[in-house]
């Protein structure tokens, strides 16, 4: 028994099976990411405050270049096979996989940076102001308010916010990963050493300050639980990352088995590469939207 149209296209549709299959699958992927993008839009439109510039644009841009490059190499890999050149195919495919790994490493680094960066909210105004001053000197309250305004693009400095609503951002000594108030209190810790972020327009970190946990209302690293922004950022990019990983594994499998397949069924193998490439381009395409929406806007 043999299933028809695995290598040659069916005349009336002009398609071989796998190509139709992958396009159908991609259609469902469009709806999957579409659902997530819709959620993003709705949550953002409905939000009181939405942060900006929380992610490193140079890093994001770099990763965009990496993905685009991989898209070029994967299509070149396919074209090389079309020209009957498995040697070149290997080189291009290897480059593609390297790009994928590069992308994932950079992404992991970005995650790591976020997981060790903290925001602290204080119990009441007076306490908050006390710590703002400890962190940034006499003008501490103004400085943190400025940071707040900058973060949420509220270039209307006349607006008044109760300081207890404003968070102090920085690092905890020892760079703990994803800890929170409950965990710290649970570990019988009473104070933390906290290095606030550099004031706006400067790169110099202020000295670490001692923060009493009993003064803290909420403490969160930049994880999904931090805020809706980070929640959607991590969810979508993680899902996208999983697609990159999955795609890379499949492409690597093709790279490793090319010799065998090229001898046995060159046409079918070329089709597989085309199909794998289609998936890969789609992953790239998602990122093309993801990057401006999450990093820039």
């Amino acid at each position: 028994m043999e299933i028809p149209y695995t290598a040659k296209p069916r005349p009336d549709t002009g398609l071989y099976n796998a190509k139709l299959g992958i396009w159908l699958f991609l259609a469902s992927e469009v709806m999957l990411f579409g659902g997530l993008f819709s959620s993003y839009i709705l949550l953002r439109v409905g939000a009181d405050l939405w942060p900006h510039g929380m992610l490193s644009i140079p890093i994001g841009t770099f990763n965009t270049f990496v993905l685009i490059a991989s898209s070029v190499t994967v299509v070149m890999a396919w074209a090389s096979l079309k020209l009957g050149n498995p040697g070149k195919f290997k080189a291009y495919m290897a480059a593609t996989i390297l790009c994928a790994l590069g992308f994932l490493s950079v992404k992991s680094y970005e995650y790591y940076v976020k997981f060790t960066h903290y925001d602290v909210w204080f119990k009441d105004d007076a306490t908050a102001e006390k710590y703002f001053k400890a962190a940034y000197g006499e003008k501490g309250t103004e400085e943190t308010r400025k940071q707040f305004v900058e973060r949420f693009h509220l270039h209307n400095t006349k607006a008044t916010y109760d300081p207890a609503q404003i968070q102090l951002a920085g690092h905890i000594e020892g760079n703990p990963l994803c800890t929170n108030l409950k965990k710290l209190v649970g570990a019988k810790q009473e104070t933390i050493k906290f290095t606030p972020d550099a004031p706006l327009g400067s790169h110099e970190h202020p000295h670490a300050i001692e923060v009493k946990l009993s003064d803290v209302q909420r403490l969160s690293s930049y994880v999904p639980a931090h805020s809706t922004f980070f929640a959607i950022y991590f969810t979508i990019t993680a899902l996208h990352g999983l697609h990159v990983l999955g795609g890379a594994i499949v492409l690597a499998y093709f790279l490793l088995t090319v010799d065998k397949w090229w001898k046995k069924a060159p046409e079918q193998f070329t089709n597989r590469i085309e199909v794998g490439g289609l998936f890969w381009h789609f992953v790239d395409l998602v990122w093309i939207f993801l990057f401006p929406i999450i990093y820039l806007l």
Binding site: K8, P9, P11, D12, T13, G14, L15, Y16, K19, L20, W23, L24, A27, V30, M31, G34, G35, F37, S38, I41, L42, V45, G46, I57, T61, T64, F65, I68, A69, S71, V72, V75, M76, A79, K82, L83, N271, E274, G277, L278, H281, F282, D284, L285, I288, F289, F291, P292, I293, L296, L297
Partner: protein, 130 residues
């Protein structure tokens, strides 16, 4: 992929897709497309640079920023889909599937957003009826 024109059609079925240009499998054709791929790669790089540059320029209107950024992204996506994914030269069947998909996606987004904004009974802000 190309058509195998020699293939006999089943009874009652017609060839749905006909294209005039030369065989997609010929080396010359592939060579030509390779140039195209590299050009598109260049365009994608350029588009990215443009988007990021725009962010640093700080256009005062948020709406314009968003519109332009999304426009660039759409153009880039168009190139990826059209050239890398050969959509510009694809079969009817696939267009059909994708058109449905896009239609439903727009339905999902637009109707949900509309529904979330047509809530006249949402009332009582700070104790006073809105």
């Amino acid at each position: 992929m190309s058509h195998d024109h020699s293939h006999s059609h089943g009874p009652g079925e017609a060839c749905a897709h006909d294209h005039g240009h030369d065989d997609h499998n010929s080396p010359e054709y592939i060579q030509k497309t390779i140039k195209k791929y590299l050009a598109v790669g260049g365009i994608l790089f350029g588009g990215t640079v443009l988007t990021v540059a725009m962010y640093y320029v700080h256009i005062p209107s948020v709406a314009i920023t968003i519109a332009v950024a999304l426009l660039i992204a759409t153009v880039k996506a168009g190139f990826v889909a059209g050239v890398f994914m050969h959509l510009s030269d694809e079969r009817k069947m696939i267009y059909g599937v994708l058109i449905c998909t896009v239609f439903f996606l727009i339905g999902l987004m637009a109707l949900t957003i509309w529904a979330m904004h047509d809530q006249p009974f949402q009332t009582l802000i700070d104790g006073k009826p809105a």
